[in-house]
């Protein structure tokens, strides 16, 4: 509880009206809560570690023995121990979830498919980018701009969004993704494609087999 009364009272009495400066807020880098609420989040131990490493003074403020005792307040001992139990449970759950998400990400594939449209004309479809947190719309725009062709996000037969680009640009798209992830930062504008695992890219060709 910051002091609402004092700040509010102080202002009208000043002859020159001044804007009340904002409270400088500090949020936990792990769970984004104000650090005093980390204990209610689902990553308490990580938050604690982070705070101890980054801001030891604040760590003492929130997690020293005195602080722990003081914050018990009016809550009963059982309720407190139940709360701690809950927190531990929540934490384990969140960890399992994060782990599953990571595994899923590792397992997910990006499929660049060259589709023959009309003998010598091709379209290229890119599927699975969204699993790596790529904004499909932005990526489609990027492709369209880069290759000066049409590029759009469409739903395929299975109802999954994919990017369709006119022309045979499968190799170019592959190169772009590699470039975006080569660690050099890549060219400007390729940020959209970062975080895609290059090893998980699969190049497929529909209908006739030809050398890539």
């Amino acid at each position: 509880m910051a002091t609402p009364a004092t700040t509010a009272d102080a202002t009208p009495s000043q002859p020159e009206k001044q804007a009340i400066p904002p409270v400088q807020m500090f949020y936990c880098g792990v769970c984004t809560f104000p650090p005093e609420y980390c204990e209610f989040g689902d990553s308490l131990s990580k938050c604690k570690e982070w705070l101890q490493a980054q801001h030891p003074d604040l760590y003492d403020k929130y997690y020293s023995d005195v602080a722990l005792k003081a914050k018990l307040g009016t809550i009963s001992q059982e309720a407190q121990s139940k709360l701690e139990e809950d927190t531990a449970k929540k934490e384990a759950k969140a960890e399992a979830k994060a782990d599953a998400a990571r595994k899923k990400k590792l397992a997910s594939q990006v499929i660049i498919k060259r589709i023959e449209r009309n003998k010598r004309k091709y379209i290229t479809s890119v599927r699975g980018l969204e699993a790596f947190g790529v904004d499909l719309k932005k990526a489609a725009k990027l492709f369209a701009q880069r290759f000066a062709t049409g590029g759009s996000v469409t739903k395929n037969a299975a109802g999954i969004d994919e990017i369709v680009v006119q022309g045979d640009v499968s190799q170019e798209i592959y190169d772009m993704i590699v470039e975006a992830n080569d660690g050099k930062g890549g060219k400007k504008g390729l940020d959209v494609l970062k975080d895609v695992l290059v090893d998980n890219i699969e190049m497929v060709e529909e209908k006739r087999k030809k050398d890539e």
């Binding site: 609402p4 509010a8 009340i20 307040g73």
Partner: protein, 218 residues
């Protein structure tokens, strides 16, 4: 359609509060409560527009009259020269953002609520109530504030001479905590709470860790 999704949520939670199917005839600030418990920017945002300056003036004066804020401070938050962006969301929910940072929001044509991040910077703009420690974790799970959490030893309500009527936007402080944990709207007057001592006292609108909290940039 928007209302339907609201009432579905209500029913599935088995709450007594009926979601009004027709929000058009009964404008209410928090008819569709817990609006940020589930909020996905990709699915729930319908569009963004810059707000006409005449309407901006209206919003500005509405905020000045409903929040405890003076012109200078508002000027700091939202400079006169800058125009805010109105982010239209489902269920008549409007978020107003400046440079992509959500500042405040409104449901239908109810009161304006600051976002929690804004409120943390300017904690004096809304009246406060305090909840006891036992209630915090329920609040953070999105529950409404029940009377006992406010009337018990750890809670705090404004004294009788500063009583708040029902329908006032309030901020929740928490016992032993420095910063507000959520923002809600009073369902009972504070004096009434002290008498009744059970049931929903304050409907929570937004709280630390909900989906609005997660949106730092729109």
């Amino acid at each position: 359609m928007a209302d339907a999704s609201c009432s579905r949520e209500t029913k599935s939670r088995g709450r007594a509060i009926e979601a009004d199917r027709d929000t058009h005839t009964q404008p209410s600030s928090s008819r569709c409560f817990r609006m940020f418990k589930k909020f996905q920017p990709s699915a729930d945002i319908a569009g963004q527009t810059t707000v006409k300056s005449s309407i901006q003036r209206g919003i500005r004066s509405a905020i000045l009259s409903s929040w405890k804020i003076d012109v200078e401070t508002l000027e700091e938050i939202w400079p006169k020269k800058e125009s805010i962006v109105h982010v239209k969301c489902r269920d008549h929910l409007s978020i107003y953002a400046l440079h992509g940072e959500p500042l405040f929001f409104q449901h239908f044509d109810g009161p304006y609520f600051p976002t929690l991040r804004l409120f943390h910077k300017y904690p004096f703009i809304l009246p406060h109530v305090r909840v006891d420690r036992g209630a915090i974790r329920f609040l953070l799970a999105g529950a409404h504030m029940m009377c006992p959490g406010l009337t018990s030893a750890g809670g705090w309500l404004p004294p009788a001479d500063a009583a708040l009527p029902a329908g006032t936007p309030v901020a929740f402080d928490a016992e032993g905590k420095e910063f507000a944990v959520g923002i809600g709207i009073m369902k009972l007057g504070t004096e009434e709470m002290k008498v009744v001592k059970k049931g929903v006292a304050v409907e929570s609108i937004t709280y630390v860790g909900d989906d609005l909290w997660a949106i730092q940039k729109l």
